[in-house]
Symmetry: C2
Subunit: 344 residues, 2 copies
């Protein structure tokens, strides 16, 4: 593959001049410029980005660290990151930790987990990426668990408690608030909640939004209306069974994610009730299952692609030396209304 040296020889100038032509930052006469361009066309010359990176100490590559590329929102977030970076001439070096494949228990083994994350960060650092976006699924993982890295780092999806860091997340509180209000607006007064894993911050935020909406509407939330699940289908089914056996069963159930809502469906149908005539159900996350269920599940769609876009924007701003102020950027979600709720 041709080099600048060869182009220089071919067009009878020095390599410096070739470089000047290419960068356009220095005056070069039209005549030589043309000659150089001709030689470039002729030899199909391409700038060696490796050499440039070495000299400039910049690779124009952003490392994207993901815990599991097969995870649901991950591909969309990466898509957003990619779109933003592409426009600015950056490329994506992907580091896929395959956490779930390496860890059997999703919520434990935190130190092991930190090691894996650290080695992924290390790999990206060694590749001399200009910046890193860490697409973290659970905030517990990213709280001071990994060694600080000397490269600008932005968190996406989960939020970091590290005060100096930037993270781009979605609005759990408000979305839970809004979807609860949707049920209230339909006249429901007995609205139960099936929560996710207790020590997840997403769960506590969604709980907060739910409580806020209920309080604001002056609705009492009996203790037994708050059920703790573990984000999985079966816990949704179990907790719904418990809810339907109460003296005053709820007329609406807010499951904190769609798989639990699906479990909810199963239990309700098993009890001989129909959705939404007897019980309304709403979910969260807008996973594919939400549109597969019958009736279609009303749920909250996360702004995954926007999270990626915004995280990339933030990182680029920081790379361009702009002072980055915000600690945690929260993007709004969108409620997807389907057929699983009905006026009471």
């Amino acid at each position: 593959m041709a080099t600048m040296k060869e182009i220089a020889a071919l067009s009878g100038v020095s390599v410096a001049t070739v470089s000047h032509v290419l960068s356009g930052k220095k005056n070069v006469s039209k005549a030589t410029c043309d000659r150089v361009m001709e030689a470039i066309e002729l030899t199909n010359y391409k700038l060696n980005t490796i050499a440039k990176s070495l000299r400039m100490n910049k690779t124009h590559i952003i490392g994207v660290l993901v815990e599991d590329i097969c995870g649901l929102p991950v591909a969309e977030i990466v898509d957003g990151i990619n779109q933003c970076l592409e426009e600015s001439g950056y490329q994506v070096l992907l580091s896929n930790l395959r956490l779930l494949q390496k860890l059997y228990n999703r919520y434990e083994q935190l130190s092991q987990c930190a090691n894996i994350v650290n080695s992924g960060l290390q790999l990206l650092e060694d590749a001399r990426v200009d910046g890193i976006i860490y697409v973290a699924m659970h905030d517990r993982r990213i709280d001071g668990m990994h060694q600080p890295v000397s490269i600008p780092l932005v968190y996406a999806y989960a939020e970091s408690n590290d005060p100096g860091s930037v993270s781009v997340t979605y609005d759990n509180d408000n979305s839970a608030y809004e979807i609860t209000r949707l049920l209230i607006a339909q006249g429901h007064r007995h609205i139960a909640l099936i929560a996710g894993h207790a020590n997840s911050s997403a769960a506590s935020r969604r709980l907060y939004g739910y409580r806020q909406a209920m309080d604001e509407a002056g609705l009492n939330v009996p203790q037994e209306y708050i059920r703790w699940g573990d984000w999985e289908y079966h816990s949704g089914e179990e907790q719904t069974d418990a809810l339907l056996s109460l003296t005053i069963p709820p007329t609406a159930i807010f499951a904190m994610n769609d798989p639990m809502a699906a479990g909810c469906y199963a239990a309700i149908k098993r009890h001989g009730l129909t959705i939404p005539q007897d019980v309304s159900v709403v979910g969260f996350d807008n996973q594919e299952i939400a549109s597969c269920l019958f009736p279609g599940l009303t749920t909250v769609a996360l702004p995954n692609k926007e999270i990626g876009l915004t995280a990339a924007q933030q990182l680029l701003q920081r790379l361009q030396g702009q002072a980055v102020t915000a600690a945690n950027i929260t993007l709004p979600c969108r409620i997807i209304e389907r057929e699983s709720t009905r006026k009471q």
Copy 2:
């Protein structure tokens, strides 16, 4: 960040010696070796991979070109690629074309499509990757449509007709054959087919497997039992309507993918029939929808991760100078039996 020069100064040797210690390819006395290692620990020195890449003319980076990272099998394939490469010390530079977002019509605008693919390949080439894996969804796109590239290239998922190239795909013919045989073994004699888009090679291969199984069993396939759809839900529904209106309606339907099978379900239920009591249904691809449907859809799971793993293996072999013989590696699929079929 520390360089070899500093390490050399710190330990009182030349940079060459430091390099020798690190590479281990030359004799270095225990004493100096220790001194150098100590300096390395002390300064937290990390080899500059950019400089190494420049010198060695090898980046240890593989470009992975995908048409749309959000596409269903893509993340799994990338996962497989990643796993294989990681073990060999390679990293993944991701180039996401976002084809579906740029093209409105999925099966047309082929020249536009070729341009996009070419620019993606160009970007990877410019980044000086050591090899490329092109995760192509449709074979029509990769038949001589893009400029040949001077870097080792392996196709994954779709197959290339280019005789000199290596592609890793899955066994359409045999899987269609096997799932048809499953229906035959259950006593079905009237088995209809809802095919995918007519000029897709996956569709013609699946058709071939179906025909082979039917012929082998001595079963006649009336012309009106072969219906052409377009891979989408609605075509499944339409074609099933047509099938159920025949004088002799089929007792089993093989939809060439799961969304069409889902459409099939809808039509069957609308006709007041039940699955699998009245009609058995099978799909293909094992998309998420297959397990969401009721009753669960029996379908064919593609070896996505294995495709990625194998493609990466092939590429690495080629990079290590081994002669790569095979033109098209076909991996077996796995039938997932759920509840959508029943003995006739």
